[in-house]
Amino acid sequence: METIIENELVRELANKHGRTRESLIPILQDLVVQYRFLSKKDMVDVARELDISAADVFGTATFYTFLDTEVRGKYIIRICKTISCAMKGKNEILSTIEDILKIKLGETSSDRKFSLLEANCIGWCHKAPAMLINDTPYTELTPEKVTEILREYIKIQ
């Protein structure tokens, strides 16, 4: 017989948000807060917990950019690439970050501390260029400013 290993966190989140379909996205969002991405195992466990098919969980997760199904770092950097930020020097910011973190756009550092991604308009066009690091917005970026910001994140153990 198949033995099911308890997934404590998934159970806890289902207790918190409920077990109806409506609870699915809040549960997935909280898993992303915890692990920065959704593993296959977690998605299967959520499906079991909510009594829906794993394909439904996977199908829903993959629709949403922030519900990543690929391994991501502890800090996900999302640089806005939409027109105002593109016009105000987004590329320069991007290459500054690539130089500092030694990763390219789309990559995650080998210590899984940082992922570097682009995002569509994040709503700070008047203070372009802008980026998010996890949930925190940073605006009016310059190469100096972004270097300073990253230095702080690098310091965190």
Binding site: T20, R21, E22, S23, L24, I25, P26, L28, Q29, G59, T60, F63, Y64, T65, F66, L67, K81, T82, I83, S84, A86, M87, A119, N120, C121, I122, G123, W124, C125, H126, K127, A128, L132, D135, T136, P137
Partner: protein, 386 residues
């Protein structure tokens, strides 16, 4: 001297006592609330511009013991950032607007759908929400609101996609009809309004419809919050009276070298300099959810168009073929013309494709790709080709 038509207004961000408004509307008949909003001629500020009073009246006429009020705070249109500021500065007024709508149609539950990019606002919103619920308790009202977070999908700003998302599914737009007032969230009658629309309803209930109507024009009453960005020394958020021309706007916000203004974001229209004078910003001219992007003569409109098409290609939900494939082909097409692989006549084919998308796409996303595409290609053909 020509009089200046760019007039600053301070309704949205005015700090008011929401309790007073709530106290007033609780004593009113639901229909009287709908009537007041109808009389104000307020039109939705989320982009589509549907008359709010009419929407509320439709909702109120539905027979259902369960109805919902949804605040659309998904604000994903490139160049719009005013809803974030409203939620940050006056969240209590947004909840108050939802309570007015709830009273008008007889709803007990409300949702705020906040885009994931604005998650940092959550602690503040929850604090304000607790205050709001205490006030509701004091007034013996059982209307309750919860905040739901998006997860980075522009299409979830489309109302039926937003409902799907709250219901825990992929954010794929539904067929219309039925409209939300008949069958919205969880299949129940639902009033969905933009953040800004809801705050205006508060101000209309506070000061009266006639006060609101003193501002603006016949087709575009009142004022509107504009998100101004691009080549401007005054980027930011401004509440302005409706009815100004693009020219008047550019005189106020331009850098002296403005060659085009994109009104309404990536799904809006590009207005070239030669049309500044004749084009009114409002429902009689170019409508806008508030996004105003200025481009000066150093900018390549090819880059602007390419950026928008890239945006739509990524954000199309992929559910219907005209939009999914159309966006990709428009993007590939302008790239091919730019490289010289296709001649300039090919642009006419692409314009036709964009027109087909307008007719054949299922939702507003696919239907509006042609707005920016058509207006940029028509006015800046040389920049696209060479």
């Amino acid at each position: 001297m020509k009089d200046k038509h760019v007039k600053r207004v301070d309704l949205i961000f005015e700090k008011i006592e929401c309790r007073d408004v709530l106290e007033k509307i609780i004593d009113m008949e639901p229909d009287a609330i709908c009537q007041e909003i109808l009389e104000s001629d307020l039109k939705g500020r989320g982009g589509a511009g549907f008359p709010t009073g009419m929407k509320w009246r439709f909702g109120s006429q539905e027979e259902s013991s369960i109805k919902y009020i949804v605040c659309n705070a998904d604000e994903g249109e490139p160049g719009t950032f005013k809803d974030r500021e409203i939620l940050d500065q006056v969240p209590g007024k947004v909840f108050c607007g939802m309570a007015i709508a709830a009273r008008a149609v007889g709803a007990k539950a409300g949702y705020v759908y906040l885009r994931g990019e604005y998650k940092f606002l959550i602690p503040k919103l929850n604090e304000e929400l607790a205050k709001f619920h205490r006030t509701m308790d004091e007034f013996n009202q059982n209307f309750r609101i919860q905040v739901r977070l998006g997860s980075g999908a522009y299409i979830c700003g489309e109302e039926s996609a937003l409902f799907e998302s709250i219901e825990g599914k992929r954010g794929e737009p539904r067929n219309k009809p039925p409209y939300p007032t008949t069958s919205g969230l969880f299949g129940k009658p639902t009033i969905i309004n933009n953040v800004e629309t809801l705050v205006y309803t508060v101000m209309i209930m506070k000061y009266g419809a006639s006060h609101f109507k003193e501002l603006g024009t016949k087709d575009s009453r009142g004022s509107k919050v504009f998100s101004v960005s691009g080549d401007t020394p005054k980027a930011g958020i401004f509440e302005l009276e409706l009815g100004m021309s693009v020219n008047e706007f550019v005189e106020e916000f331009g850098d002296g070298d403005t060659k085009a203004v994109q009104v309404g974001g990536a799904s809006g229209f590009c207005v070239p300099r030669k049309r500044f004078e004749e084009t009114i910003i409002g429902f009689e001219g170019v409508p806008t959810g508030g996004s105003m992007k200025l481009f000066n003569s150093t900018r390549s409109m090819y880059n602007v168009l390419h950026n928008y098409l890239d945006f739509f290609t990524e954000e199309s939900c992929g559910q219907c073929t005209p939009c999914r494939v159309g966006c990709q082909q428009l993007l590939k097409g302008v790239e091919a013309v730019k490289r010289g692989d296709k001649n300039s006549k090919y642009l006419d084919e692409l314009v036709k494709l964009a027109k087909t998308m307008k007719r054949a796409s299922k939702c507003g996303l696919g239907q509006s790709v042609g707005n920016a595409f058509g207006s940029i290609v028509e006015n800046f053909k040389e920049e696209i080709i060479y």
